[in-house]
């Protein structure tokens, strides 16, 4: 079967045969096994799976946080190494799951946002910080606050602003709304959609929530036990016609509680 033929001729991101192992010789955890997918420019690609499926591990290998991987990861046709340089970080940024853990507790919003600019030797830092705060829907009053003075949703906006301030092309989103209340989730999802349109971003979104993925993505891959079970378009997902039993079960479970469905749940290890 050809891999994601619908991603077009020249994908922006191309992951081929990605393998990730953790641990030392005697106890190896094979977290990701032979994962391949392509993401076109301007697309939102979803990676869905349950805990331990390896979806976040794929993202961390792509971001450069985890160096213990084999296979190839290409961005814009350039093959990435284990160690990434500043040009990579300027193209690819990440938003983390837990807004309470992803902001330094002793740094003001101002410092959190201006430090990336300093690292990359950018000019006009003051204006950039002001603009990006407005872009994520936080006013200038938030600029000199500390994270503990912000709500969960506001923190996640700051985290998104931090990812955007380097003006990257690609955002890796690791469960960006799963720690938030539903009403706040809606605001953040809307914000991400708007930013994507305004800035022509490409998203890779990891989530356990099929509804969120269906709302955000163009295509998705379902992962289980380190492998991609199935790749499908959102239209196929909405029409409830996944080919694989695992995906069908996941879809059913996402629709709410159903006593008869629960009885038929199987384990796919």
């Amino acid at each position: 079967m050809p891999i994601s033929s619908d991603a077009g001729p020249m994908p922006l991101i191309s992951v081929t045969d990605l393998d990730v192992r953790f641990g030392s010789d005697d106890e190896i955890v094979h977290a990701v096994r032979g994962v391949s997918f392509n993401v076109a420019e301007g697309e939102t690609f979803g990676l869905v799976g349950e805990s331990g499926s390896g979806k976040s591990t794929v993202l961390r290998a792509m971001s450069g946080l985890n160096a213990d991987w084999t296979g190839t990861i290409e961005i814009g046709g350039t093959r990435l190494g284990r160690v990434r340089g500043k040009p990579f970080y300027k193209r690819v940024q990440m938003v983390f799951q837990d807004p309470y853990g992803s902001l330094h507790p002793r740094h003001t919003v101002d410092r959190i946002l201006s430090e990336p600019c300093q690292i990359h030797g950018m000019s006009d830092i003051d204006n950039r910080v002001r603009e990006v705060l407005i872009a994520v829907g936080l006013g200038p009053t938030f600029r000199f606050r500390y994270p503990h003075q912000l709500s969960g949703g506001q923190r996640q906006r700051v985290a998104i602003a931090r990812a955007l301030i380097l003006e990257p092309e690609i955002l890796l989103l690791d469960e960006p709304t799963s720690a938030l209340d539903v009403s706040v989730q809606a605001e953040i999802l809307n914000l991400l959609q708007r930013l994507k349109q305004e800035r022509g971003l490409t998203f890779v979104l990891v989530s356990h929530d099929l509804a969120v993925v269906a709302h955000m993505c163009d295509r998705l891959a379902v992962m289980n036990a380190g492998r991609i079970v199935e790749e499908l378009t959102i239209a196929q997902l909405r029409a409830s016609e996944p080919a694989e039993a695992y995906t069908r079960q996941l879809l059913k479970a996402s629709l709410g509680y159903d006593r008869s469905a629960a009885a038929g749940m199987e384990s796919f290890d």
Binding site: E50, S51, G152, D181, V182, S183, V184, Q185, A186, E187, L189, N190, Q193, R194, H208, D209, L210, A211, V212, A214, H215, M216, I234, L237, R238, Q249, L250, L251, A253, S254, L255, G256, Y257, D258, R259, A261, A262, A263, M265
Partner: protein, 294 residues
């Protein structure tokens, strides 16, 4: 006597005018404000966002609010007894025997240095005074009841050796040993994968139906509560803003409930911006509604 009053309408637990206040350095924080509700032998979902007071409501029924928190209520009656008038010792008996609580993360509720088997057996012995051999047999039965495969093996494991779903099932097994009349489950499945969540909920569902137990199901997940519970109580800013049959949640009237429902991304909805919930100040000031069991 209050006893006759308690069971008259079929309610297990009747709470009238419950408030939970926290006295902090910066002033008084009202976590729960004058709510009234009752729970029968049914599944009642208490839904709300963080800070709505739903968890405090669950905990205050067991009087598990520590100072500087303070519980006040006109009435908090469980099976003819006023929970607020009981001594701490009587309350402990109620907590163990009659009302059980299941928390979100089983890791904090299980003793990390005892095997699962020892913990279940001990819980059983304490409640029934049974011999240790009986206790072991019962423990195996309990694990089988919550659909754990190979219960003999699981008994010899330590809490860190079991998965989240398994841990939550074990917690439920332990909570069911005394055969409680009421179970308070605070986000019991939020940390679990959806498929495991279904299985755990199915276990709770069967137990409620078979044993005629009452269930207070505290959750942030509207979809789940709508599909799982019989009745829903929606809380906002420490008050009950609306209550309805779970099956009729999609026809809810209160703008807060409507806003929450609309802001959910759905598989069957076309993409596009999600409606954002606009909070009104008036929701906090207008009086809450009562949610009695009928």
């Amino acid at each position: 006597m209050s006893g006759a009053n308690g069971g008259k309408d079929g309610a297990l637990l009747t709470v009238e005018d419950l408030s939970v206040r926290f006295h902090t350095r910066t002033g008084i924080v009202d976590a729960v404000r004058n709510i009234s509700f009752s729970v029968g032998r049914e599944k009642v979902g208490i839904v709300g966002e963080s800070g709505s007071g739903k968890t405090m409501t669950g905990r205050s029924v067991l009087r598990l609010i520590r100072p500087p928190g303070e519980i006040t209520a006109k009435r908090m009656e469980f099976d003819g007894q006023d929970l607020l008038k009981l001594s701490e010792k009587q309350m402990r008996d109620i907590r163990g025997d009659r009302i059980s609580m299941v928390m979100q993360d089983p890791k904090y509720s299980l003793n990390p240095v005892m095997t699962i088997g020892e913990q279940i057996a001990e819980a059983y012995r304490v409640h029934t005074g049974a011999s240790s051999r009986d206790a072991k047999t019962r423990a195996v039965e309990m694990l089988a009841a919550v659909k754990i495969r190979d219960p003999e093996r699981v008994l010899s494991l330590y809490p860190h050796e079991v998965s989240g779903g398994m841990g939550q099932r074990i917690m439920i097994a332990m909570m069911l040993i005394p055969d409680p009349d009421l179970m308070i489950a605070d986000e019991p499945t939020s940390a679990l994968d959806v498929t495991v969540q279904m299985q755990v909920l199915a276990i709770i569902d069967d137990l409620v139906t078979k044993r005629g137990m009452g269930l207070m199901f505290v959750s942030h997940d509207l979809n789940l509560v709508a599909s799982f519970c019989d009745r829903v109580i929606i809380m906002y800013a420490g008050q009950i803003v609306e209550t309805c049959k779970a099956s009729e949640l999609d026809q809810a009237q209160h703008p807060y409930t409507r806003g929450l429902l609309n802001s959910l991304p759905r598989l069957d909805r076309e993409p596009g911006p999600l409606p954002v919930l606009e909070r009104q100040e008036s929701w906090k000031t207008e009086p809450g509604v009562d949610a009695y069991f009928k």
